[in-house]
């Protein structure tokens, strides 16, 4: 009988202590398992400053109109 009372008191005390701790102190919020909570992330800006390249064909083999052979 004494051991049964001890077991009931043991369970009751542990339950009360954990309850008081949880309700007294706010635990850190649990992190989401899959989704990242990063909300203020800034997208990297790509500064496109490369000028449009102009390909000049110096020795073009295209026949020129009016050229004398």
């Amino acid at each position: 009988m004494k051991k049964i009372v001890f077991l009931i008191a043991y369970a009751l005390i542990i339950t009360l202590v954990v309850g008081i701790i949880v309700f007294s102190y706010s635990p850190a919020p649990m992190q989401a398992p899959t989704n990242s909570t990063r909300t203020n992330s800034t997208q990297p800006t790509t500064n496109i400053s490369t000028p449009i390249s102009v390909v000049t064909v110096a020795n073009s083999t295209t026949p020129q109109y009016g050229a004398s052979s």
């Binding site: 077991l7 339950t15 309700f23 706010s26 992190q31």
Partner: protein
């Protein structure tokens, strides 16, 4: 002094540790259910409101924890805790939290496999009925 004498406290420590985890999560869900609603799987979200489901889950976890602490219906309780934690592990998925949940699941499984120890109420209740049936619950 030999440490062999301490072996009898091992199932009690395991049950107490599991119960502490369940109590913490249960009370946390009762305190702030909105924080836990995102953990609800889609297939049960139509049964009731998310807050109601979290309250129900929290109460169930506290009841299971108290039963574990008392050592009452130890086998049935630890089987339910094992299935519950296994389900949570599948929800949480692969990661640091999931790895810890797997360990908790196996801890609950160990309690189920061991059955009632000498610090369980089952031990004293069933001892009065028949001395040889303490490992059946």
């Amino acid at each position: 002094m030999t440490l062999t004498k301490l072996q009898k406290y091992s199932p009690l420590a395991l049950r107490t540790g599991l119960a502490l985890v369940l109590l913490w999560f249960g009370f946390s869900q009762l305190k702030n259910p909105a924080q836990w609603t995102r953990m609800i799987p889609d297939y049960v979200s139509g049964l009731a409101s998310p807050t109601t489901l979290i309250y129900a889950n929290g109460i169930i976890e506290i009841v299971l924890a108290v039963l574990l602490l008392l050592g009452l219906f130890t086998r049935i309780t630890s089987a339910l805790v094992t299935l519950h934690l296994l389900h949570i592990t599948t929800i949480v998925g692969y990661g640091a939290v999931g790895a810890r949940d797997i360990a908790l699941t196996f801890a609950a499984l160990a309690t189920f496999l061991h059955g009632p120890d000498e610090f369980c109420l089952d031990h004293y209740i069933l001892k009065k009925r028949s001395p040889s049936s303490t490992n059946s619950v």
